[in-house]
Amino acid sequence: MTVKVLYFGRLKELSGSSEESVELRDGSVIEDLFSTCSAARPELLKFRASLVAAHNQEFAAWDTPLSPGDEVGFLPPVSGG
């Protein structure tokens, strides 16, 4: 299945793009998606502990199951205001 990944803030700078499509095995969860993304970009790994995932625009646990067409954002600590 294909899901859409969005990067923000320092992750966007590191990954060099704000958005990509990623192909995953059926049954994958958000953690699997992050593993796939960071396999291609190992520099993402050191941010894993300081990220929150958003699944279809809601904060989500890392073991959330994914469906085709889902949108997942990897969000650094927020600093609006």
Binding site: G9, E58, F59, A61, D63, V78, G80
Partner: protein, 159 residues
């Protein structure tokens, strides 16, 4: 998505925020109080002189989270109208990055709701700021939004 309250104004913008206009808009004849919060760009951060800031957002989610905050204010406090406007892009020293206004018949609810709104926005709304100094730039230290403890039921992708 439209705001559930017709007179609320929840926005993300790339233009200067019209603070005075927004403060006027939340005021109705039933109201005896308007509390406002003007978040503005400071000229220093951790003892370094700031040149300017750049804000970016996960816009659709940020707007939804701001609308959730407004809905919570209406269900929790005896208030009338809510305005919450956040600006993105490059902001100079002294410019307003976020402006919140809450009207209410009585001041306590307006103060409490306004305080809750900015405190919650800073914890849960996906917006990021980068601070530019004479000798470099850093992403501001932020807050990690609370993560749901358990796996929620999988939802279909939003179209």
């Amino acid at each position: 998505m439209t705001a559930p309250y017709a007179h609320d104004r929840i926005e993300i913008t790339r233009r200067p925020i019209p603070n005075a206009e927004i403060a006027r808009q939340v005021r109705a004849d039933d109201d005896g109080a308007v509390a406002t919060f003007d978040g503005c760009v400071r000229n220093h951060s951790h003892d370094r002189a700031t040149l300017y800031l750049e804000y970016e957002a996960y816009e659709s989610m940020a707007l939804a989270k701001m609308q959730e905050i407004a809905a919570h204010l209406h269900s929790t406090y005896a208030i009338d109208r809510v305005a919450m406007v956040h600006r993105l892009g490059r902001l100079e020293i002294g410019e307003t990055s976020v402006f919140i206004a809450v009207s209410a018949p009585h001041r306590a609810a307006a103060f409490d709701a306004c305080r809750y709104a900015i405190d919650t926005l800073k914890k849960t709304v996906p917006i990021w700021k980068k601070e530019f100094f004479a000798d470099g730039a850093v992403w501001a230290d932020g807050e990690l939004p609370p993560i749901p403890a358990q796996t929620p039921t999988a939802k279909p992708a939003s179209k």
